[in-house]
């Protein structure tokens, strides 16, 4: 942690790269279909001629900016710009609909910066010990983590639990379309070559969240968002006070994000969902999650940006990428000739690692002015642009964004059909969110379950495999608490009401 590394991160070039990276990442992340992974992957070749530390700072800044940028579309269009912003739609869009879109965008910025700083500080001070968490997580823990994420369906489906469960199960089935995760069976394709690749998460997200909004938008002349009385200024002070007033939520969500980021393969979407679930479980009786509750945005955005620093912990210490963008950055590191491992943090070899971490911290701080500035214009554009321009513009971006994922027209067709399906079932009480939860968590759950089953069978101790490990038991306990909490809270409230 030499001062030299800190000063190296503060060179004009590195500061400029951090600023440009955050701005580019925020803009790319705000476009539905362009994920943080894609943003980093596309810009990797630019870094090959740079100094390793500068290259890492640029890539880290793009990554953290893209995760935050995903919140714009989630809040203003009900479409997660990146999968990490799924849970941001739950309260962000209702806030925007009632005229608090500017507040929601500012909240997302403050929460993202705070979460990003917590993740980066964990990377700075706790990288080697925290990397052991990644090694402690086996297939069964991943399975239970996915089940924990799915338990959010109960929280999301207040008053329509069975419809939520049906949607979640349908999402799980959609996630199993194509080649099986563990064996090589081709499932539920009905002979179609198009379906062998399965349903892509990003395309499905765009379809299930964005297309229904467009279908509703065109049908009536009214605007989709209520325009705030004052749109010339962002409610920065109010947003800052709300985030400061939710210190426990911010800290808890940031820690969740950091820990989930450490787990290879989990990523920002799982972190956001778990943090949202915990925030809702700990909410007061006056808080209305799912109906425009600021704490929902704070939880999700602080958690998903904390995964950036968290994900770098196993990447740099163990050479195991914590999240998909980390895998791309790991590749860029190898091209630069940087060897990952605990030695990277020791004196001598540590200068690159620490310069990068300081650079990431600086980029995260720079995200505050950049994010608020871009957020202000994003909000103003969305609320003032005529509907006749907004709808075709967004429709065009859904097409080009979905096509860009696999360069496939079939993906675009599936996206539109899923969108129409989501709109139809949504009109009859079957929300899109449980379907998306199933689609995202299905592969994690299946892979963990099947691998756990195989290992448990070989050890001739299946119950011990699934229910005998301390980490598994802790996650099971959290899952049960998450499932039972709505009933307990309702009973408490009923008792308290005379």
């Amino acid at each position: 942690m030499e001062a030299g590394s800190f000063l190296a991160a503060l060179t004009p070039l590195n500061l400029l790269l951090a600023l440009a990276g955050v701005a580019a990442g925020t803009l790319i992340g705000s476009i539905p279909g362009l994920t943080a992974t894609m943003a980093v992957a596309v810009l990797v070749p630019i870094t090959f001629t740079m100094e390793p530390a500068s290259a890492l700072i640029l890539l880290g800044a793009i990554y953290t900016g893209a995760i935050y940028g995903g919140a714009y579309a989630a809040i203003l269009l009900n479409t997660p710009g990146t999968p990490s912003a799924i849970a941001t739609t739950f309260d962000g869009y209702p806030m925007a609909q009632r005229g608090d879109g500017d507040l929601a965008v500012a909240l997302a910025c403050f929460a993202s910066v705070t979460g990003g700083l917590v993740g980066a500080l964990a990377l700075l001070f706790l990288a080697p010990p925290l990397s052991r968490v990644a090694l402690a997580f086996g297939p069964v823990e991943y399975f239970w983590l996915a089940i924990f994420g799915l338990s959010l369906i109960a929280a999301l489906s207040s008053g329509a639990l069975w419809k939520g469960l049906a949607g979640g199960a349908f999402g799980l089935i959609l996630s199993s379309v194509g080649v099986a995760e563990v064996s090589a069976d081709i499932r539920l394709t009905f002979g179609s070559q198009t379906m062998i690749g399965g349903f892509g998460v990003v395309g499905a997200l765009i379809g299930l969240y964005c297309v229904p909004v467009l279908i509703d938008l065109v049908a009536v002349p009214e605007r989709h968002l209520k325009i705030a009385d004052e749109i010339d200024t962002m409610p920065i002070g109010r947003a800052a006070r709300l985030v400061l007033g939710s210190k426990v939520n911010v800290l808890r969500s940031s820690v969740i994000g950091t820990l989930v980021g450490i787990l290879p393969g989990a990523g920002g979407s799982v972190a956001g969902l778990v943090a949202y679930s915990e925030a809702k479980r700990n909410a007061g009786p006056e808080q209305r999650f799912g109906q425009g509750e600021p704490d929902g945005i704070i939880a999700t955005e602080s958690a998903n940006n904390a995964t950036v620093g968290g994900g770098f912990i196993p990447t740099l210490v163990l050479g195991i990428p914590g999240t998909p963008p980390d895998a791309v950055i790991l590749g860029a590191l190898l091209v630069q000739g940087v060897r990952t491992g605990p030695a990277l943090f020791e004196s001598g070899g540590g200068s690159i690692a620490y310069t990068f971490i300081y650079g990431l911290l600086i980029a995260t701080v720079l995200m505050l002015p950049v994010g608020l500035l871009i957020g202000r214009y994003a909000y103003r554009s969305i609320v003032t642009i005529p509907k006749a321009m907004l709808v075709p513009g967004v429709a065009f971006m859904t097409v080009i964004g979905t096509f860009a994922i696999h360069n496939s027209v079939s993906d675009v067709t599936l996206m539109i059909l899923l969108g129409v399906f989501g709109w139809v079932v949504g009109r009859f009480g079957f929300s899109a969110s449980p379907i998306v939860l199933g689609l995202i968590l299905g592969p994690i759950a299946e892979q963990g379950f099947v691998q756990g089953w195989i290992i448990g069978s070989a050890m001739e101790d299946l119950p011990g495999m699934f229910f005998g490990r301390p980490l598994s038991l802790a996650i099971i306990a959290f899952t049960l608490m998450s499932l039972c909490w709505p009933m307990v809270a309702a009973r408490r409230q009923a008792r308290a009401t005379p």
């Binding site: 362009l34 894609m38 596309v42 329509a160 069975w162 419809k163 469960l165 049906a166 199960a169 799980l172 089935i173 199993s176 099986a180 563990v182 064996s183 090589a184 069976d185 499932r187 539920l188 009905f190 297309v211 467009l214 279908i215 509703d216 938008l217 065109v218 049908a219 009536v220 509907k387 006749a388 321009m389 907004l390 709808v391 075709p392 513009g393 429709a395 065009f396 971006m397 859904t398 097409v399 080009i400 096509f403 860009a404 027209v409 675009v412 067709t413 539109i416 129409v420 079932v425 009109r427 009859f428 009480g429 079957f430 199933g438 299905g442 299946e446 379950f449 099947v450 089953w453 195989i454």
Partner: protein, 150 residues
């Protein structure tokens, strides 16, 4: 909600539940063709959960009556035009290339979303804006991000 709307909503809810039940049964049938038992466990569990949850939802709606709003108000031709234009874009893309196909989706969505009377000014402004937007994003994706757009 009027009685007619409530009846329509109830029928729609029941149809969606029935669709989910059928989807679960089809999934269960499909699992019988897999060679590896590891491939069957998960979709079977999900299918059984889907059938159970959809059945309970269906029975609940039959007993209590559906409370959803149904398709609500709004112009159907606009909705159909939007979806039709987007699907037509997919069909046209391999034949015409990306930009002409995307223009179909854009124009369809523009007409569907236009609730004001068309004027020459609208045509000019929206036409130029659309061309700039599509051209700009095409250039960004094709040349900036190296996406091989057809």
């Amino acid at each position: 909600m009027s009685d007619a709307a409530r009846a329509g909503s109830s029928t729609g809810t029941l149809l969606v539940s029935l669709f989910f039940i059928v989807a679960g049964i089809v999934t269960l049938y499909d699992t019988t063709t897999y060679t590896d038992v590891d491939s069957k466990v998960f979709p079977r569990a999900a299918a059984i959960l889907l059938i159970l949850a959809a059945t309970i939802s269906l029975v609940t709606d039959l007993v209590r009556g559906a409370r959803e709003s149904g398709f609500g108000n709004g112009d159907w031709w606009r909705r159909l035009l939007l979806v039709g234009a987007m699907l037509a874009c997919c069909l046209a893309m391999p034949l015409t290339g990306f930009l002409p196909a995307a223009a179909i989706a854009f124009l369809g969505a523009l007409v569907a979303a236009m609730h004001q009377r068309w004027t020459a000014r609208h045509v000019l402004i929206y036409g130029v804006s659309g061309a700039v937007l599509m051209g700009g994003f095409y250039a960004l994706f094709r040349y900036g991000l190296n996406v091989p757009l057809p």
